[in-house]
Symmetry: C2
Subunit: 432 residues, 2 copies
């Protein structure tokens, strides 16, 4: 081993730029088919599919079977009938990795036939299917666009502790762990830390895992998911936070659309997302459903779905801001709306009738924290480091959190959040 060298195969996506040239690429044998004396091989890598045509005159090639890892060198030629408009001819194959025996799933079909449970158990194989890969390519672009959108607006990325000393936000559904002779918890969100960091940087974001000891097996919840968190200071109200969210969500959708191809639009998002107050939303629902819902403290999933339909028909929007949720259903750090007693300066962003973002303005005066925590019977012990941030001069601030897997699933029309999670964690699943 001497000097590092930079020669390694081109990814499949790049091959199309080399029509007329001999290139080396690599990937997995996706399909092999004999037709009219020719062998049609489809090669797959993380960037796409490539057709390779082998004629008897090209000389012998190794026996190829699906999921072999191969390196291949050949000439790139225009071929309008091939996927992507090009194919490789006169190819020489080197087999680099062989599957052992029969594969537990067949990847050649347009969709995987195996059930979700089987796909999750055989994740290392099932995720190779182009339809599965596609989900995570879109997901990667969503996260990237979130970060880039916020960086453009001077937000700074932070990394905060996932092991914490005080089960803070709710106390329910928290994972416990022993920590050097003490009791510790896995963070359910970076909420407290991002607020503290507003006092330092003014605007921060974090992309990282959060943990919920979620006892229910639903299609919407997992024990671990990726939270896209943002928090900003010097706001006049939640509208400023919603404006940033609107811009960043627009950038995320654009990136996802680019990854998904421009053929079918993933979502319709107006430049200004319609806004409805929680109280109005209940009035609309009461009218439509013919029952008095005006005293409800929260929106049931069916209500969210109805509001999604309503936003679609009234505004042609897949998105709807519901603002002003009752204080009773929001965490202690939520800023109340003094104009509407009992309601808060918070919001949810619904996408096709499901909450995908939660946010709002927070309290920023230490005295308000003292009062709010006392009213709710919460102890300040263990939270001194967090609460002290409000004694150092903290501006009005707010923020939001997006569940990356839930957004991905909803955007791509996947029924279960597990289909948008590489290795989901739930009450039953701790492997692979």
């Amino acid at each position: 081993m001497s000097q590092a060298n930079s020669e390694f195969p081109r990814v499949v996506e790049e091959v199309a730029s080399f029509v007329g040239h001999v290139v080396t690429t690599a990937g997995w044998i996706h399909r092999v088919r004999e037709l009219g004396g020719l062998t049609f091989i489809v090669l797959r890598d993380g960037t796409g599919l490539l057709q390779i045509v082998h004629a008897p005159a090209d000389g012998p090639i190794p026996a190829l079977q699906p999921e072999m890892a191969v390196k291949v060198t050949g000439r790139v030629v225009d071929e309008p009938r091939a996927p992507g408009g090009i194919e490789l001819r006169g190819a020489i194959f080197t087999v680099l990795g062989r599957p052992d025996g029969l594969l537990s799933l067949s990847l050649g079909a347009p969709a995987l036939e195996a059930g979700l449970d089987s796909r999750l158990t055989h994740a290392a194989l099932a995720l190779r299917h182009p339809a599965a890969q596609h989900v995570f390519r879109v997901q990667a672009r969503l996260a990237e666009a979130f970060r880039q959108g916020l960086s453009r607006e001077h937000f700074i990325e932070v990394h905060t502790p996932k092991i914490i000393g005080t089960a803070s936000e709710s106390g329910a559904n928290v994972f416990h762990l022993p920590y050097f002779g003490r009791s510790a918890y896995l963070a359910q969100s970076p909420q407290f830390y991002k607020q503290m960091m507003v006092g330092v940087f003014g605007r921060v974001f974090e992309v990282g895992p959060v943990f919920r000891a979620e006892p229910h097996d639903t299609g919407r919840h997992l024990s671990q998911y990726t939270s896209l968190d943002a928090e900003m200071g010097f706001i006049d109200g939640p509208e400023d936070v919603m404006a940033v969210l609107t811009r960043v969500m627009g950038a995320m959708l654009e990136a996802a659309q680019e990854a998904a191809g421009q053929e079918s639009p993933l979502a319709t998002m107006p430049g200004t997302i319609p806004v409805v107050h929680f109280e109005e939303a209940l009035a609309l629902l009461s009218d439509a459903l013919g029952e008095d819902l005006t005293a409800e403290p929260d929106l049931a999933p069916a209500h969210e779905r109805w509001l999604g339909e309503w936003a679609r028909s009234q505004y042609g929007s897949d998105f709807l801001f519901v603002v002003g949720y009752p204080m009773a259903k929001r965490p202690f750090y939520t800023m109340p709306d003094l104009q509407r007693p009992g309601f808060s300066r918070s919001f949810d962003l619904l996408f096709r009738g499901q909450e995908i973002v939660t946010g709002g303005q927070r309290l920023h005066r230490f005295q308000d924290y003292e009062k709010a925590m006392m009213q709710r019977g919460l102890s300040m012990t263990g939270l001194e480091g967090y609460l002290s941030a409000f004694q150092y001069g903290m501006p009005p601030h707010g923020g939001f959190a997006i569940g990356l897997e839930r957004l991905t699933a909803k955007l791509l029309g996947l029924a279960n959040i597990r289909e948008a999670t590489l290795f989901p964690r739930d009450t039953k699943r701790l492997e692979p």
Copy 2:
């Protein structure tokens, strides 16, 4: 609350582009000084410092004290003597947040006088110091450049489980936690998952927390840190991995330098980083130190330091690749070097005599895993999902991991990794 509006203050960094205009910005009062009948106020936000000059003729302003959060509107004027060449005049202040009483640390001095322990306890205040902020601005740029550099080379970002069913890599220094009636562990690295994902996407990266139940309190180790992980398939050897690392590290240094300012270079990195084999390194050390070290299984910190000096004097490089570490000191998935029995196809990247990156080529055949695990007396139970990946056709592959906090500290000359961690976790510290 009706429509989201996008009017909020400009960050300090942007103000300089508005000479001659009246702008609104916001931040914290960093310093106040009276001089020749004028008041000189320095405003600080997450993007920089701004001088504001108030003359008696401008009318009364509120009593300003350090760390107040304020919004300020004024005219931007050229002023070569002010930091950044501009200042704000005729300013109107709105106080948005007030510190309660005396601050436990004073932020006005060029460096914080408080000791590390006190700074960590009062993190929400201490991190406001420009020198502390600077560390994390550089850190944010390092992580961003890592992701962008790899994305350019077709690596895809993944998010993998931090709660795992089998204490895998070493078994030592692992955090345990109860998980729905089972025993689970916090992941010490995304190693197994990133390898599995090579079989899917070919090239992947992850930026995320890793957890080590590190029992020693040193300046280099923490219970949680941010790992920058990459893994790639279809390599000919570790050289291909080292080539990617060299390019991405170059991009990271460039970004850090940009954030730090161009005055003083942070590091010297040649286009090709010098490479020394572990065996040669021991021979050099034996010669230089006058003792026989040739049978050592690993490099002691003092040896790494000596090699750092050597790379500096021989090649003018702050970086040095040490390759071919003995198999005995590398994990079971490491690819042995068949040309040099006992040695591996692995590498460390030293920066100024300290390891900042570990990487190498991995085994890719299932049979090799069986053999390696049996030789080391490791059980395959619980790792079926991981090991199955090598039964599906896996190409030769390798990767590396960079400790973000350690790199930041080393690059900025910080003695303790805690100075490059917003909220460090160690045997004693679980708060804030």
